[in-house]
Symmetry: C2
Subunit: 249 residues, 2 copies
């Protein structure tokens, strides 16, 4: 049974302002909730699941988890879900405390003004696939705890350290690190000198990397075009470049 | 001024059944409409644009185009648009007659049961970027003329020859062509023997390639995973594999 005040609270978490105030966000669906239960149970504050979910996931429900789980009806889940078709279970979780950036000779990702939540989430999932642990976002990127971002990450948000910065200040403070800007007029990806360590910088979906940041790029990389499309989707471009950058040489 | 019957007709084109009957579909936004006006003006039956669009695009408006263009008010465009924020102009266009498949020693793309319109459109755009001219779809893929597919292709639908088939029958009829199945347990993309000619086969977003088709694959290719994400988005995977397959060797 869901109280009115609980419904109101969870619905409020679909707005950035209230997520920031509560330091909390919402995850949905059996897959993502199971990943959190396995990898980060202490971040979970409350779980709301329908009976089917409970019956299918008894193996995940330790005593501690049972204490924070409420059985709800489909129509109650509908009220607190952000999905048009709610998916069995929803949980309120505490935001992670991000670690400070340390270059440590690995490859990181920097995102300048990514606006589409689906793109942002997909990029986090791609980073997780290719073993990239750190994502540095501009302050004008869509909020990483936006429900559509969370949904598209498919649980990868758990394994990625994401911090928001004024990117010009960040770059000024980290001279000496290679920054590879993904642009339409850089060096061909296919002949780009490998291995790379530093930061791959991906720009906004329609405007690309802002001019003020381009000057911080130590080089620019371009995915060669063989046909006629005007551009590639930002997440697709991220996947293609990362796949070349991380391959063994 | 838009008549009620025109509104009804255009709205009907957001349903596959009526698109099939009318052999027509809808494109939206200045960018896509401009691409059609430049590359395929004879396919355009009707254009509905607001005054601003007309004023900004006088150079595209030949006499023939003017004859089929109706100036509409924002609130009229709202009525016939599939977008929550209509974008200046909309056109009704005739479907292309697809060319029959011919292997011709090039690389083509085959899609098995792609369900998400955004993914399908993005894949068409990726194919166009990498110069892939032919896409062979299973009959249970989302309709290529679905408005969300068209929107995500960003005009690339114009330059890509897309046909729908029973893929098992298609593969049976085209033995002797290499079919590279993208799976999670194939040969590493990084050591895959190049150059490739034939067909890259991409499977459904959650289920992958259906079992009946796997047996037609002459080999399987896998994007190596360095981190922990369970999978990659289907469009992203297509971009990554194509980028490796088309690179000069």
């Amino acid at each position: 049974m869901l109280s009115k005040s609980r419904v109101k609270y969870i619905q409020s978490l679909y707005h950035k302002k209230f997520r920031d105030e509560a330091n909390s966000y919402v995850i949905e669906g059996p897959k993502v909730v199971a990943e959190f239960l396995r990898e980060s149970p202490r971040n979970i504050q409350e779980i709301y699941g329908v009976k089917t979910w409970l019956n299918n996931n008894r193996h995940l429900l330790t005593e501690a988890v049972q204490d924070i789980t409420t059985i709800v009806e489909e129509h109650e889940l509908q009220k607190i879900s952000s999905l048009s078709a709610p998916n069995q279970v929803l949980a309120v979780v505490t935001k992670n405390i991000p670690e400070a950036f340390s270059p440590n000779g690995k490859l990181s990702l920097m995102l300048d003004n990514i606006q589409d939540p689906g793109n942002f989430g997909t990029i986090i999932r791609i980073a997780d696939w290719f073993g990239i642990k750190t994502i540095i976002c501009s302050e004008d990127c869509v909020d990483m705890y936006n429900p559509k971002v969370i949904q598209s990450t498919m649980g990868s948000i758990l394994r990625t350290n994401i911090t928001c910065h004024n990117l010009e200040q960040f770059c000024s403070a980290h001279t000496g690190i290679n920054i590879y800007g993904a642009t339409l007029s850089g060096q061909s990806l296919y002949t780009f000198p490998l291995p790379v360590t530093g930061i791959l910088l991906i720009g906004n979906e329609s405007k690309g990397i802002r001019r003020e940041l381009l000057s911080f790029c130590t080089s620019q990389v371009t995915i060669p075009r063989f046909g006629n499309a005007e551009s590639l989707n930002a997440a697709v471009a991220t996947g293609i470049i990362l796949s070349h950058f991380v391959k063994p040489v």
